[in-house]
């Protein structure tokens, strides 16, 4: 969505000042600032506050610090001492003994963690039943450290002035590559992942890299297509006033699968439920006949 129609949030202005925006988004913010005096004035205020704090924090203390020469000499001496430390055979034996003990302890701890983890997982699976994720659904929830979600200041009118599908845009290739790198995904084919918005632009999400993640297409149950239907549902619900925009943004950013279950009142994707029901009917049909 163009920033020409809306003001930029303080958070994004600060990210722009700090060089934390994606290349594309930064260019858009720059273009907006060139046209908008209001945002430029707020940006100047932020810059001034940053400068004031940096000066107040650094300038008075820096001259009070002891000269570096003494510290440098001390560190050199300590490093030399560390390097020159002779290797004592008894110390080696002691170290190796402890190392073996530590390795053994690590192995035991790993087994214990795996056992407890498996137990917890199965308990959770048993509790959740059909809603538990199947193995092919890994990666469908973004890493909250990399993709916490990011929004811009929008009103309901902004969001609802155009259909949901018109607001969603294609993510540029450079950004896609950057996201794959961040997530440590190499050699990803275009059919494997969709670079998806965590908070869709139709709900005020931005094109910021913190709002984008590689969502696998291959997940059988919870995949990119299912999330698209949730986005449309939330967009509709916001526009008819059933829920407020902040709630929609929060719910989809926190756990979109939980949001899907909440707003569709189901434990599994709607299409999948009907497919499974049909399969069950087919299976139960011949059994009844015999």
């Amino acid at each position: 969505m163009s920033t020409d129609n809306f003001h930029i949030a303080d958070q994004e202005l600060l990210q722009a000042a700090d060089g934390e925006l994606s290349f594309l988004r930064a260019a858009k913010v720059r273009a907006h600032l060139a046209a908008c005096w209001d945002c430029r004035a707020r940006m100047a205020g932020i810059e001034e506050a940053v400068t004031d704090f940096a000066r107040a924090y650094r300038d008075p203390l820096t001259p009070q610090l002891p000269p570096i020469a003494g510290s440098r000499a001390m560190l050199r001496a300590r490093l030399s001492e560390l390097i020159a430390k002779p290797s004592n055979p008894s110390w080696h034996n002691f170290f190796h003994f402890h190392l073996t003990l530590r390795v053994f302890a690590c192995i035991c701890a790993t087994f214990l963690i795996v056992a407890v983890g498996a137990e917890l997982f199965f308990q959770h699976f048993a509790k959740q039943g059909k809603s538990a994720l199947i193995s092919s659904d890994r990666g469908i929830i973004p890493d909250p450290r990399l993709t916490p979600g990011a929004t811009r200041q929008v009103t309901i009118n902004d969001v609802c002035s155009m259909p949901h599908e018109d607001v969603v845009r294609e993510v540029p290739t450079v950004t896609r590559q950057q996201i794959f790198r961040e997530y440590g995904i190499g050699n990803a084919g275009p059919e494997d992942y969709e670079i998806d918005y965590l908070i869709t632009p139709g709900l005020g999400g931005t094109e910021d890299i913190h709002n984008l993640w590689p969502e696998p297409y291959k997940s059988r149950m919870w995949n990119a297509r299912v999330k698209d239907t949730l986005e449309e549902r939330l967009h509709q619900m916001v526009c008819i006033g059933k829920i407020d925009l902040a709630t929609a943004q929060h719910d989809i950013a926190t756990d979109w699968i939980a949001a899907y279950k909440k707003y569709f009142h189901t434990d599994r994707p709607v299409g999948l439920s009907s497919q499974l029901n049909r399969r069950q009917e087919k299976r139960s049909g011949p059994a009844k006949a015999t």
């Binding site: 004031d52 650094r58 203390l61 820096t62 510290s71 001492e81 560390l82 390097i83 002779p86």
Partner: protein, 191 residues
């Protein structure tokens, strides 16, 4: 550990001198280079925990000794700046906890602000600048500790990802924290 004691403890009395005269290893050179670069920022950061400059200096020394061991063991070199600040953060916290009197001896930022004469052209301007700084640092000190840490680490040039790693919080939290803190500073300055 005092240097004198360690020299006595060594089996070869001239070991330290010999090591001194030997050509420094690449790791040693790298550590010293990073020390030159980050010593002052680390001192300021450690001092901001309310420990004395002397203790902060000790924290810095420990950080670079740990860094040397870290590199010697061929551990990850990814984001060394974040690693350095993270270690400093943890050691400074330990120092603060260990020092029972740290809270009493803590030097508030605003007294530091007053200590340093500013090269302002006249006493009036100097007074006004000190007052402004004092007000600003008082606001910072009233912020929750995590927000203060975010601000100080950002002031030392760390990126959001590095700050998130040092403080063990999410990127979003760093961004929100910095925005909130600066909004308070702006409001206080009446801008």
């Amino acid at each position: 550990m005092p240097l004198k004691d360690s020299v006595i403890a060594l089996p070869f009395p001239n070991a330290v001198e010999a090591a001194h005269s030997a050509k420094p290893s690449p790791i040693e050179r790298e550590v010293m280079k990073l020390f030159e670069q980050f010593r002052d920022p680390l001192l300021r950061y450690a001092h901001s925990f309310g420990i004395s400059v002397h203790d902060a200096e000790e924290v810095t020394q420990e950080v670079f000794l740990s860094l040397f061991r870290h590199l010697q063991l061929h551990r990850s070199r990814r984001n060394l700046r974040g690693w350095i600040f993270c270690v400093a953060h943890n050691i400074a916290l330990k120092h603060r906890q260990a020092n029972q009197r740290s809270r009493q001896t803590m030097t508030p930022d605003w007294t530091i602000a007053e200590r340093q004469p500013d090269p302002a052209p006249n006493p009036e301007e100097q007074f006004s600048l000190i007052q402004r700084r004092r007000r600003l640092l008082a606001i910072v000190q009233a912020l929750p500790e995590q927000e203060q840490r975010c601000l100080r680490l950002r002031a030392e040039g760390l990126r959001y990802r590095e700050i998130a790693a040092v403080l063990g919080i999410s990127l979003g939290s760093v961004s929100i924290s910095l925005t909130g803190s600066l909004a308070r500073l702006i409001r206080a300055a009446g801008r």
